[in-house]
């Protein structure tokens, strides 16, 4: 490959979220740190014919301002996260200089179910495009710059942050609202149920008894700007990012984790750092036998001898696999751990699997203040992504 340029960091000014652990970012973080279990029986649609009817369902959303025609579940989740974000950091850039970049695995597919079931409801069909929620968000926040939907499945929440950073690097916009979302619906529950990927037990990332994942719903957004050394409040910086494909299998990770390894090494390279700088890993950690083993192997290969001393966690035991939102929430976990000097433990992890030999944070949160963290993500279709993040305390 030709000479590679080091990426300029971008500032992550603030964040907003809605998750099964809480209705905003503070609820998400306090739920993680206290080890709250966000998994419950799904109530919003019928699940009694499925093998598994539990997941990380958000039971109640905060009241929202009128959303006009953008009323599907996925859009509601995005707008709830945006409301939380903008309450913390109002947009100051000109509307045409603000981009929206969000990742998703499902888009507005629930609307497709309705469009097919309720013949004549054209508005459902129009919202069934996977990029409809992103356009709904852009309208709601008044952004008139690029509106991009990233479709790298469960890695999309990381790829979206990287894509947003590229827009800032190139000077296309001055501010980016980036993140990820996905809502639970029958379509995805039925699909994963048929795949036999859902566990009837609890989610146990990296545990020897792990038997599968549970799905969750969430939305998480960050406000990013170019890093111009301003003294205003911020959460941290995105130092490097990369996405890579496995070219191996459509629904299983590459047995050797080649795509993830490429992504981790490239993200570190872009950040201008070596593995020695990494002080915390927010792992994908789905709780499936294959993912956790392969991810652990990749982390050991890429982080080297220090792997046994780098704290690793997975948030999926607490809120389920929130698909398009997962990687953004994991990035936020890195930044909030740095802010508060505490790394949440992996809910459900009790007996670490020897083949996942890492420095797991288990049982209780760990008092540590990571300055530079790594977040790793994988998704259907052989998607992989890695983010290198620096907390504001650094």
């Amino acid at each position: 490959m030709t000479s590679r340029r080091r990426a300029e960091p971008v500032t992550i000014v603030a964040a907003g979220a809605v998750t099964p652990l809480g209705a905003d970012l503070d609820g998400f973080w306090s739920g993680l740190v206290t080890g709250t279990d966000g998994i419950s029986m799904i109530e919003r649609f019928p699940v009694d014919d499925l093998r598994v009817g539990r997941g990380g369902e958000i039971k109640k959303l905060k009241p929202m301002p009128p959303v006009g025609r953008a009323g599907c579940r996925a859009t509601q989740l995005l707008l709830a996260a945006a409301q939380d974000l903008l309450a913390r950091a109002p947009l100051s850039a000109a509307p045409e200089r603000v981009a929206v970049v969000v990742g998703t695995a499902l888009g507005g597919v629930e609307q497709l179910e309705r469009a097919i079931a309720q013949k004549g409801r054209v508005r459902h069909a129009a919202r069934a495009f996977y990029d409809s929620p992103a356009h709904g968000l852009a309208r709601w926040v008044g952004a008139r710059g690029p509106v991009l939907t990233v479709g790298t499945a469960c890695a999309a929440g990381a790829t979206a942050l990287g894509t947003g950073a590229e827009l800032l690097h190139a000077g296309v916009v001055d501010a980016v609202i980036a993140g990820g979302y996905d809502g639970l619906c029958r379509f995805v529950m039925r699909g994963f149920d048929a795949l036999r990927s859902l566990t009837r037990e609890r989610i146990r990332p990296f545990d020897r008894r792990r038997s599968g994942l549970l799905l969750g719903e969430a939305a998480a957004l960050v406000l990013m700007t170019r890093d111009e050394g301003g003294g205003g409040p911020r959460l941290g910086r995105l130092l490097g990012h990369a996405s890579a494909s496995d070219g191996s299998h459509i629904s299983a990770p590459d047995p050797k984790g080649r795509g993830l390894e490429f992504a981790v090494r490239t993200a570190l390279d872009e950040a201008g750092l070596t593995a020695d700088s990494i002080e915390f890993v927010s792992a994908h950690g789905t709780g499936t036998p294959l993912n956790d083993r392969i991810e652990a192997e990749v982390l050991r290969r890429t982080l080297g001898q220090r792997t046994s001393r780098i704290p690793v966690n997975s948030i999926k035991g607490a809120l389920g696999h929130s698909m398009g939102a997962a990687a953004t929430l994991e990035a936020l976990t890195c930044l909030l751990a740095s802010r508060d000097g505490v790394v949440p433990h992996t809910v459900g992890l009790e007996e670490p699997d020897p083949v996942c030999d890492l420095d797991h944070v288990m049982g209780s949160p760990r008092a540590v203040r990571p300055h530079v963290s790594l977040s790793t993500s994988l998704g259907f279709g052989g998607c992989n992504a890695a983010l290198v993040l620096e907390g504001a305390s650094a």
């Binding site: 490959m1 030709t2 000479s3 590679r4 340029r5 990426a7 014919d49 045409e96 998703t104 597919v109 497709l112 179910e113 469009a115 097919i116 079931a117 004549g120 054209v122 069909a125 129009a126 069934a128 495009f129 996977y130 990029d131 509106v147 991009l148 939907t149 990233v150 479709g151 790298t152 499945a153 999309a156 790829t159 894509t163 590229e166 190139a170 029958r186 379509f187 039925r190 699909g191 994963f192 048929a194 795949l195 996405s243 890579a244 494909s245 496995d246 070219g247 191996s248 299998h249 459509i250 629904s251 080649r258 795509g259 490429f262 490239t266 259907f380 279709g381 052989g382 998607c383 992989n384």
Partner: protein, 270 residues
């Protein structure tokens, strides 16, 4: 930033290549709402379960390599980036699963409701099949959206090359409409006609063309020409425009624009 167009391929419901495009798509459609592309006949047991849109992606890359005499080994590995774009091609597999689920609930059998089919409903699976077939393990991006998203993907590819993050980049777009024709007919004032199924791919390499990204208000002449000749192809539009410029030997200075949901993006090779 500077790149060059190494090759571009186009498959549409009108036939393979730009020569198959009619002068006036609306007239050639003769009132048909959808011009289908069919299911490519690709060899290999792996393709038995793959959806039509996956196969169209593979076929577009295959056509690009074959027509330009590029060996598969050239693009294999982590030095080639893959940027995939679609606005709607996942619709057919999603619709099939929703219908099968409805049939299952009605106690009849559904052919595609099993776990083996579900992964194919993800847009990422279409790009995944292409990555598997051509052993692409480099930088990877998937954008969901129409022609404006393809402009964004071309721009991302340019940046990946300019920053040395890859040696070449494939920008691939696929659109299918036939399975969801009923839904499109119910929203016929939302999309232009005829809807023409298409798959198109461009291979970008380092070069001398300077690239500028913009948000123009009006369509370029190439956008207008591609729409007139091909019809409504959503994300494939800018790649068809690029192919028309390439066929005319006019890639020295290209103004590519693409519109989707009220937003127009532009990419200028100068």
């Amino acid at each position: 930033m500077s790149v060059a167009l190494e090759a571009v391929s186009v498959l549409t419901g009108w036939g393979p290549g730009t020569d198959a495009l009619p002068a006036d798509a609306a007239q050639a459609a003769g009132g048909r709402a959808v011009i289908p592309l069919g299911r490519p006949a690709l060899d290999g047991d792996r393709f038995r379960r793959a959806t039509r849109e996956c196969l169209l992606g593979v076929a577009a890359v295959d056509a690009l390599l074959r027509e330009s005499g590029i060996d598969r080994d050239i693009i294999r590995g982590c030095s080639t980036a893959l940027l995939y774009v679609t606005a709607a091609a996942y619709g057919s597999s999603n619709q099939a699963l929703v219908v099968a689920e409805a049939l299952r609930q009605a106690r009849t059998t559904g052919a595609v409701s099993g776990g083996t089919y579900f992964p194919y409903t993800a847009p990422s699976t279409m790009a995944g099949e292409v990555a598997i077939e051509f052993e692409l393990t480099g930088p990877y991006g998937i954008l969901i959206g129409g022609a404006a998203a393809t402009i964004d993907a071309l721009w991302q590819a340019t940046r990946l090359i300019a920053d040395g993050r890859c040696e070449r980049a494939l920008v691939l777009a696929v659109e299918t409409f036939e399975e969801c024709a009923d839904l499109y007919s119910r929203g016929r004032w939302l999309v232009k006609r005829p809807l023409v199924e298409a798959a198109a791919c461009a291979l970008l390499v380092p070069g001398v063309r300077r690239v500028r990204y913009d948000a123009p208000r009006t369509p370029s002449a190439l956008e207008t020409l591609a729409r007139a000749r091909a019809g409504e192809t959503f994300a494939c539009g800018p790649l068809i425009a690029l192919a028309l410029a390439h066929a005319a030997g006019a890639t020295d200075s290209v103004a590519l624009t693409g519109e989707w949901r009220g937003r127009r993006a532009g990419l200028y090779w100068e």
